[in-house]
């Protein structure tokens, strides 16, 4: 049967676990971007946003710069992107090759109940390219995602994949507590991030565990 319906976030998310590069770190935006990902592929290398709409991409940029040897996958929505479009310019300027952005374009603020966007019809790939990101592409089929992520390993510079989807307004129940501090500590332990080692009467330093 031929259909014009867009894929869902779930369709893309089902492809993603098998497509993740080795040692990948995944940062997901608030709402179903995190809840659904935790349901399908919870791992300590996931960093889940609980709130802070619009700040997923800049956080992922900082992480990609700090961990240049590990692939970083960031999942953000079009509504959240519009809240901090300047982040695209900063990402384009820093241009870390280990950062791949999956931008869910569902045309609404899904995480807050499906309110209309200021402009739901923007060409986000063109917007990314105009922001200095050379590798930006619109995708319409989940089956294309695996090949694009695999190609990221040889890519020079950051990549943005715009995933056109139907809105998913119904809130997915996450299988685990998404306690923010627990998320952070679990993530930092998993990547063996240097820890702050204090001294009694003086300032400490970050040291590898």
């Amino acid at each position: 049967m031929v259909t014009n319906a867009r894929p869902t976030r779930t369709d893309y998310y089902r492809v993603l676990p098998g497509s993740l590069p080795s040692r990948a770190l995944v940062v997901t935006s608030l709402g179903n971007a995190s809840y659904l990902w935790a349901s399908l592929h919870h791992a300590p290398e996931n960093f889940y946003f609980e709130d802070a709409m619009g700040l997923t991409l800049p956080l992922a940029l900082g992480l990609a710069i700090a961990q240049p040897d590990r692939p970083v996958i960031a999942v953000e929505g079009d509504g959240a992107l519009l809240m901090h479009m300047g982040a695209l310019v900063t990402i384009g300027a820093m241009n870390p090759s280990n950062l791949t952005i999956l931008l869910i374009q569902n045309g609404v603020h899904a995480a807050s109940g499906g309110q209309a966007l200021t402009n739901a019809a923007l060409d986000l790939a063109q917007l990314a390219r105009a922001s200095g990101i050379q590798h930006a592409e619109n995708l319409n089929a989940p089956g294309a995602l695996a090949a694009r992520i695999a190609a990221a390993e040889k890519r020079d510079g950051v990549g943005v994949l715009i995933l056109a989807t139907e809105p998913d307004i119904e809130v997915v129940r996450p299988p685990i507590s998404l306690d923010p501090v627990a998320t952070k500590h679990r993530f930092m332990a998993a990547i063996e991030a240097p820890r702050y080692i204090p001294t009694l009467f003086d300032g400490g330093m970050l040291e590898r565990p």
Binding site: V27, F47, F49, E50, D51, A52, G54, L55, T56, P58, L59, A60, L61, G62, L63, A64, I65, A66, Q67, H84, G86, A87, V89, T90, A93, M94, P180, V181, T183, K184, F187, M188, I191, A193, P194, Y196, P198, D202, G203, G204, M205, L206
Partner: protein, 174 residues
């Protein structure tokens, strides 16, 4: 005869940069103002440090959180007006996830600031910081600046939170 430390402290912005290097800060994220411009240029030239020039202070805050999440000691250099505009990210990301971040904040709008239009931001700064629970201190111009930077950085790490050091012009303008 002056010691090298005294000579360094004679130029307080140099002492700030030296403290950041000595304490192992690997990344600085910034939205500049006129006081911060030159020290950022110097940081950009430091081989062991990465400077990220952000487009907005709330974005800068999130970049700093990501960098610290990745295990790099990270400082934010912004104007006080920028901290006023990063309130939501401060409480829902940096404080909620307990990211230790050193914030060096140019304190505009004080009686020492010759640019009069900063006054409204100066008046609002500390009440807003208290309102959002942002730990902070003002630098003491009569004491060496390097140890004050170290104390602020230590506070951030020991308390697992952002800490804002409010800097006068003589502290940070190269």
């Amino acid at each position: 005869m002056t010691t090298s430390t005294e000579a360094l402290e004679a130029h307080r912005p140099s002492a700030v940069l030296n403290a950041l290097k000595r304490l192992g800060f690997g990344t600085v994220v910034s939205v500049p103002d006129s006081w911060l411009g030159e020290i950022l240029t110097r940081i950009d030239r430091e081989p062991g440090m990465t400077l990220v020039r952000a487009t907005h202070e709330e974005e800068a805050l999130a970049i700093a959180c990501g960098s610290r999440l990745g295990g790099v000691r990270t400082a934010l250099l912004v104007q006080n007006a920028g901290v006023l505009s990063m309130g939501a990210g401060m409480v829902s990301l940096a404080q909620r996830y307990q990211f230790p971040l050193l914030m060096l904040v140019s304190y505009r709008g004080t009686p020492d600031d010759p640019v009069f239009y900063h006054i409204p931001k100066g008046r609002a700064t500390e009440p807003v910081f208290r309102g959002i629970g942002l730990a902070h201190a003002c630098t003491d111009r009569y004491r060496p600046i390097g140890p004050q930077i170290e104390h602020a950085a230590t506070y951030a790490e020991e308390a697992s939170c952002p800490f804002a050091q409010l800097m006068g012009r003589e502290d940070i303008q190269w």
